[in-house]
Symmetry: C2
């Protein structure tokens, strides 16, 4: 894959690099290499010294933290075009969470030290990093809101709605982006809570989930059920 991949254009797809001038982008590309990781591979662990940050080309990456008792809190699950590990430049080069490949994943990796020098020396890069962090903050605020006020069934409904194209309204068939146990963890639920909540959601909204496919007969039914416990109206602007 690394032979055919245009690293510069992959970087330009990310919110972090999209606003950079071509020559600045080329400089990042010159520092980059492309690597493919098997499912389960660890990119880094919480509190590791940060040598690299990563741009996802394909696959899924799970960001998580492990408690002292060994349980895992999934902070986020990221796909193509997302950057991770970059915020270590702002936390003394220490990663503030762990990251693992949730399936076979190809990434571009770039030294954290290079990003750090770019932010320190290039105002546009600092502004781009600010925009990127602000969008993360907005998303995390929504996350906290959801964990605080949405029921487990509503959180699953919300997750499905975010996969919908907002133009279609009836008989939508969706492919779940990753397996149900990871979806449960991503939504902050134990597997048994997820099963119960999904059953309730089925009864309330007539959705069907079979294997990794979901069918939503009526989006409005689902929004009536899920969106009342949220401050945003559907369609929401961020995934």
């Amino acid at each position: 894959m690394s032979e055919v991949l245009n690293v510069t254009s992959e970087l330009a797809k990310t919110s972090l690099f999209a606003s950079l001038q071509p020559d600045a982008l080329e400089q990042f590309a010159s520092q980059a290499d492309v690597k493919t990781f098997d499912k389960g591979s660890i990119f880094f662990l919480h509190e590791d010294k940060a040598d690299w940050f990563y741009v996802i080309v394909s696959g899924w990456v799970k960001l998580f933290r492990e408690t002292l008792e060994g349980h895992e809190a999934v902070i986020d699950v990221l796909s193509e075009g997302h950057v991770f590990g970059d915020s270590a430049v702002l936390t003394d080069d220490i990663h503030t969470n762990s990251a693992a490949a949730a399936e076979k994943t190809t990434v571009i990796r770039i030294p954290v030290s290079f990003l750090k020098r770019a932010i320190d020396g290039n105002h546009d890069m600092a502004l781009a990093m600010l925009k990127s962090l602000a969008s993360h903050r907005k998303q995390q605020t929504r996350e906290i809101e959801g964990l605080t006020l949405q029921s487990a069934s509503q959180r699953i409904g919300c997750f499905l709605l975010r996969l919908c194209n907002d133009v279609e309204q009836t008989d939508i068939d969706l492919k779940l982006p990753y397996d149900k146990s990871l979806i449960a963890a991503r939504l902050g639920m134990k597997p048994e809570t997820f099963s119960r909540a999904l059953n309730k959601l089925r009864q309330e909204t007539n959705i069907a989930v079979k294997g990794n496919c979901a069918t939503i007969p009526d989006v409005q039914n689902l929004t009536s059920f899920a969106c009342g416990a949220c401050s945003n109206e559907f369609p929401c602007e961020t995934l």
Copy 2:
């Protein structure tokens, strides 16, 4: 209060402004005014156009969002030396949550447009804003982790531990920083959940809570109970 307050030195206490040169700080101070708000006053609402951002001089400020059904998710509760409303410069001048005075609160307010120009024109200001956002991100990640994996009793225990001086180990008397209904909301619990969880915490760790005072007979007892479901060890570095 406004007559005796040294605005420049108040600004210098915040993480956002602490690294700025004195002349840059003076420029912010020249744009600022000081205002006192009664308990319950609204500074701004979610999705309001952002005219001002605020630095807390005294009192407590609640950041929240309201769901379409009218329930309130408390995102954070901030005290003296904290800045709020500032991240609107990065979200098209729109506030991404609401803010209200949780008790009588004195603030310094500064036009958002002035901060925006400073970030666009001054590299040091952009770096300071980056540091501030990064610290918020770290705190919000911890918040998501706690909401995902800690039990209600553990979240209360964690809240109390964050009020402790890490040097003392036994017979600590604490004053709760704000009233119990707001603590419950801050921890993402309904009042009845909070009561039940507090009772459980009392039984498990022998803490006592009476009015707005808490007594912790043995910190180690409390950390054994609360910190196992967290990725940080006590004492934790952030409030």
